[in-house]
Amino acid sequence: MKLTAVQEDALIELLNIGFGRAAASLSQLTGHRVLLEVPHVTIHPVDELTESLERVIHSEVASVHQIFSGPVAGDALLILDQSGASMLKELLTNEPALPLSIDASAREVLTEVGNILLNACLGTFGNLLRVQVTFSVPQLNLESLGAILESLRVNQEGMKYALVVHAGFKLRDAEVRGYLVIVLSVASLDRLIRAVEEWEQRS
């Protein structure tokens, strides 16, 4: 399954609307102007996800994981490499980050940031599909990318696809890159893409 250029453009546009909302609440919370950009969206079978993400993330990662359920169900993750995660926390809170493993406050800030982004992204999809999605409490994990993606793969039944949203945080003259991974069933993804196409034709 591959996105056409038109589908990708429409998805990026939709996500940017949702991320605009997330950026506004982050700006309000931190007192700094936060910009969120989506330069790129790709789709991969879950089995090939590790390979494609390892091309862009090499180190241990910090991930915020939320399970969503309802008519559309799946897993949503925000993945940041650990230096990016520390930098993001420093930029947002204006104080030097300690190593994430001992800095509970930093982990909490990242959980909140992930929560805001995942809510914005999945809220956008929920509105588009006119369905109500409910979320689990977000969990932050510090692990290797492989371990996180493996746990995702193990929990899946049937053929699943992952929508990977490349996201860039821009604030205080710095940029931190992160990846939103949304794992969906083939049927859910197909439904979502059709809804995106309809939205594109309407607008």
């Binding site: 947002l92 800030v109 909140e112 929560n115 809220g123 409910t134």
Partner: protein, 303 residues
Amino acid sequence: MTVERQSDELLATGLLRWFEELSDRGIFTTDRSLVVRTWNPWLAAQTGITATDAVGTPLFELYPSLVERGLETYYRNALAGEVHVLSERLHKFLLPIGRHLQTMGISEMAQSARIAPLSVDSGIVGTITVIEDVTERVVSERELRSQIAASERARSEAEEASKLKDEFLATLSHEIRTPLNAVLGWATMLRTQPKMKSRDHGLEVIERNAASQLRLVEDLLDMARVMSGKLKLDLRVIGFEDIVQAAVDVVKDRDRDRVPGGPLDCERRSRSAAAGGLEPDVERNQIHRAGGKGARPADRGCD
């Protein structure tokens, strides 16, 4: 509703009540109209608002500041299915609860919170809020941060001190080398021209420069004694006039060197040093020291 289902729901209510009673966190629930439905003992103890007063009151009447701080949206979103995490760093607290730790400048309890929808099969029936007191954690993180900053400061001070020591060593080497030039120059001339007329003068220059270097080393040892607090003052009567005269001579000498010469003058004096004519520099250094000015060459550009 089946008897089984009714029994399940009663069990769930009992379970929530049990957790609420035992929890070391604040837990309250609201219905879909955001009227408080449960208020656990932790909250009653910390806020001073009893469950009897809280239950049945709209949340935003109980805490109007939630609306002023824009947190109403979080509850509206929870009713639409969203979960929210509120970190202490970005919100400080959810409910204002006094917690006085004056030594740390803390007057409010630091909190992290989670606001989530409460859902059953038929849909979302209300919200649940869980509040954690993280004041102690914030205090210990603050202490850790200031310890790290202090050790960082100490490290950069040590680096600066080491840099200054390197610079001092470089200057010192330069100073120690200066008299050696004259000694070597004259020694070579005396060896290659044993019958030269100014032999006595040459020996005098060698002697004077050796003495100058000895004085430098003594000055250095004096400094080490100052650093270790072992300096002894050598008190004796001296002729003040001689010192003033020596200092005046130094300035006169330096002005004479500088006015017409500049860099070209350095060159001239370098040539003269090679020919064994270094005495003016050496002498000036000696006079400087006699006048208590320390080991400062008159002109650093010439060696």
